[in-house]
């Protein structure tokens, strides 16, 4: 085992790493060096091979070819536990923890051995560690009651408890609030100042620019460039995409007739429920819903789409009263909903693209018109540029392609589109494509309502912004009359 002494530095070199999955080359000769005490960004769009590379470094998967050197000493990890013994720990994109065990159990697992558990000792260690980073974790509640951000914090504390020197984070800013992101970045900076290395894997330029000392850009499984801070955004984009994509533009709000009207609607669900919501949406409006995760946006979208029955209040669609929770009636009236969890709520894992289109088909024939469904699948694959075949199972599609598939299911002439985090986990190119597509709808006077945890995104495309706090709408402004600062304060509950 390597001696991970306090004042010793740890230098990691990846040399000519290759990883093949059948004919797919996820990593194709990647070499890079990470010095101790630095925050090193690995930038690239989804599918560029970032996660694969980091999973090789953390021992989760094995490289087809190539060597890892720690302080010029070649190492080979059989499993992640060996890597963490050597001081390398990874925070995976989907948290690899135990939702039904308590926070303390999660923290102890992998640290303890033997018949007896010194629970008190670990409780103290956990409390001390979390206090030193300003995290607040209650050791005795089950992990499922934590937010994604808190689960990340717990995982970081656990890895530090293992005594790791190099912390790898895979897309850590996806799905966490701005406040938690700030806390996370502070913690990472503190770690780097203590001489530990941090590797941040991200497709978000802003994260990398805000945090990293050095960046390596990957594209199609190979390194396309590296840069030291301060960064040249244009250059980075060029390394990521070849040519930088253009930004979609915010459209001016058109005033039309009312599409959705809510009067004093209350509903339960989420962390805060929905309280006293009265709102009117008009044709051609593009409305962004901001707020911390679970502040009522999700419930709002589900009530507005007829998926959930409100406890109290009136809802009108296109001027006519409608019974809350009557999903078919909402659909008839032209409301369509796109949930955030694509595989859980949107698609059916285990069915192919063709089968999804066959399900979509309204014909009540006894036998499935396979030929027709197949043709439609083929048509939509071309039209929506989905990287897949009609016979592909949906769960094997990438996040971006799953979202394209979901968009292809939207009705041709909707009146009201409700979207929950439509670009979460998508690379820039796919996100850009999604927004272009949605803007087309807006041009046809469709009212679009979307929730997003990215303020920048909301300010980029929306022409009206609603801020949710603790289940209520505490701000309702035109996008060109506000800015990120004001919205950020409102998200935290401070409204002036």
């Amino acid at each position: 085992m390597l001696n991970t002494n306090e004042d010793e530095t740890m230098r990691i070199e990846l040399q000519d790493i290759h990883k093949y999955y059948g004919p797919v080359r996820a990593n194709n000769g990647v070499s890079l060096t990470i010095a101790s005490g630095e925050i090193h960004g690995i930038l690239g769009e989804n599918g560029a091979g970032k996660s694969t590379l980091m999973k090789i470094l953390s021992g989760f998967i094995h490289a087809t070819k190539g060597t890892i050197l720690i302080d010029a000493c070649p190492v080979k990890f059989e499993n992640p536990a060996q890597a963490s013994l050597m001081g390398i720990g990874m925070l995976y994109q989907d948290p690899l923890d135990f939702p039904f065990l308590t926070v303390l159990d999660n923290f102890m697992l992998g640290l303890t051995d033997g018949l007896s558990v010194q629970a008190d000792q670990f409780r103290n260690q956990l409390n001390e560690l979390s206090a030193s980073f300003g995290f607040q974790v209650n050791p005795d509640i089950p992990v499922q009651r934590l937010t994604i951000g808190e689960r990340q914090q717990l995982e970081i504390l656990r890895l530090l408890g293992l005594g790791i020197e190099v912390l790898v984070l895979d897309e850590p800013t996806t799905g966490i609030s701005a406040v938690q992101k700030q806390l996370l970045f502070q913690a990472l900076k503190k770690l780097a100042a203590d001489g530990k290395s941090v590797i941040l894997v991200s497709h978000k330029l802003e994260d990398v620019e805000a945090l990293c000392d050095r960046v390596t850009v990957l594209r199609y499984g190979a390194v396309t460039g590296a840069m030291e801070s301060p960064f040249d955004t244009g250059m980075l984009l060029k390394m990521m995409f070849g040519a930088p994509p253009s930004q979609p533009l915010r459209k001016a709000a058109q005033s039309g007739s009312s599409v959705l009207e809510m009067k004093q609607v209350y509903a339960s669900g989420g962390r805060s429920g929905l309280k006293d919501c009265s709102i009117t949406f008009r044709q051609g409006e593009m409305i962004g819903l901001a707020g911390l995760e679970g502040s009522g946006q999700g419930v709002f979208l589900r009530v507005a789409s007829g998926m959930q029955k409100p406890a109290l209040g009136e809802i009108s669609l296109r001027g006519a009263r409608i019974k809350g929770g009557a999903f078919p009636a909402f659909r008839q009236a032209g409301a369509a909903f796109l949930p955030a969890s694509r595989l859980e709520e949107g698609l059916i894992p285990g069915l192919t693209l063709t089968e999804h289109y066959a399900l979509q088909n309204k014909s009540s024939k006894f036998l499935i018109p396979w030929a027709q469904a197949y043709q439609q699948a083929q048509k939509c694959i071309n039209l929506f540029r989905i990287k897949g075949q009609p016979q592909t199972f949906v769960q094997t599609l990438s996040g971006g392609n799953q979202q394209r598939l979901l968009l292809s299911f939207l009705p041709d002439k909707p009146k009201l589109l409700l979207l929950e985090n439509p670009t979460r986990g998508l690379d820039l190119e796919s996100a850009h494509w999604v927004w272009q597509r949605l803007c087309n709808y807006a041009d046809r006077k469709v009212c679009i309502v979307f929730a997003s945890s990215e303020l920048d995104e909301i300010l980029m495309v929306a022409n009206r912004v609603l801020v949710f706090f603790d289940g209520s709408i505490i701000k309702d402004v035109k996008a060109d009359e506000t800015d990120a600062d004001e919205l950020g304060r409102a998200i935290a509950g401070k409204c002036d």
Binding site: Y92, F98, F100, L101, L109, G110, T112
Partner: protein, 337 residues
């Protein structure tokens, strides 16, 4: 035709509470052991559905081995090994061959039962060895509790000890924590340096061993001897149901086993109170009653019921005591590794 008066008097004279509870504790022993064995297996994420067949096969094995060797210990040992082997088949097929645990377990249920009847034919209706009573000195003198808990044979003490030991092991030790972690998320366990396959196989074997012991308790202690039917038929399914409705907690599963045993004992008494009713009714009645009770308890976890109990504090605590969630990876066959 018995008059109401007659029924009432016989009930009172017949029902000695001390003896009633003692026989509930004794009768529940094999069900407790089987339910705890299955709880341990399922905590690791493996469903061993073959309980009903395994119990019969191991009961037959226990009796045959004890009869031939005249050693109760060998009988119990052989039954445990048979139980472990059957559970091992389920685990191996699932972990290494990616086969459905439910399908394999179900086929094994039927196969083990028929195998037990077929192989056990020569031992049918024979007088064989059986566990003798072993009152605990001094302790059995304690009024009421002494007779209820300390005047039994060894397997019954084993069942009582097992409840406490398994509870402490699962929730208080590092090994227990690892066991639970594998049942919740094998992939995350792997990242933490645990070998999920090894853990699953180990605890499937342990759980299976206990199920085998439970079979031996039937043929060597509770319903001594072998025959067709043996009297243990259907108990495996009850044990499986107890694991689920007990929320994968050994104490709650054991509590269910005692309730089932109580129903059975009451059934035997009821036969004398209502001599005109067909005897089969009292043998069969505990099964649907048990399932009905379990369903009632499970219904209590519905949101509407929970809202209704909001203001009834004692009911709410009662419901909380009986709620639990399944290990998240229970029954899943794919382990990426």
């Amino acid at each position: 035709m018995p008059t109401l008066h007659f029924i009432a008097t016989t009930m009172i004279s017949d029902l000695n509470l001390t003896i009633l509870f003692a026989s509930v504790i004794a009768g529940a022993a094999p069900v407790v052991i089987a339910a705890i064995g299955e709880t341990i297996t399922e905590k690791a994420g493996i469903i061993n559905l073959s309980l009903d067949g395994t119990i019969l096969l191991s009961a037959m094995t226990a009796f045959a081995v004890a009869y031939e060797t005249d050693s109760l210990l060998l009988g119990f040992g052989a039954a445990g090994i048979v139980g472990a082997c059957v559970a091992g088949i389920v685990a191996l097929f699932s972990i290494y061959l990616g086969q459905s645990q439910v399908a394999v377990g179900f086929v094994l249920t039927l196969m083990c039962r028929d195998l037990a009847y077929f192989l056990g034919n020569p031992y049918s209706r024979l007088q064989g060895p059986q566990a003798s009573p072993l009152p605990l000195p001094f302790l059995k003198e304690i009024p009421f509790l002494g007779t209820v808990f300390c005047n039994h044979n060894l397997p019954v003490y084993l069942s009582l000890a097992l409840i406490f030991i398994s509870w402490q092991y699962i929730y208080r030790t590092s090994y227990g924590l690892k066991l639970r972690s594998v049942g919740e998320n094998p992939e995350a366990s792997f990242v933490r340096g645990i070998n999920p396959r090894k853990i699953q196989l180990t605890y499937a074997l342990c759980g299976g061993f206990l199920v085998g012991i439970s079979g031996a308790v039937f043929s060597l202690a509770i319903k001594p001897g072998w025959g067709r039917p043996q009297g243990a038929e259907g108990v495996g399914w009850i044990a499986l149901a107890l694991v689920i409705f007990g929320g994968w907690h050994p104490i709650r599963a054991a509590a269910g086993a005692y309730f089932f045993s109580f129903l059975q004992v009451i059934g035997i008494h009821a036969q004398t109170w209502l001599p005109n009713a067909p005897a089969q009714v009292f043998q069969v009645a505990p099964f649907p009653l048990m399932i009905f009770t379990l369903v009632l308890m499970h219904l209590a976890q519905k949101e509407a019921v929970l809202n209704w109990t909001e203001e009834k504090a004692w009911l709410r605590t009662l419901i909380r005591m009986f709620s639990g969630t399944a290990p998240q990876s229970l029954g899943k066959t794919e382990i990426s590794n």
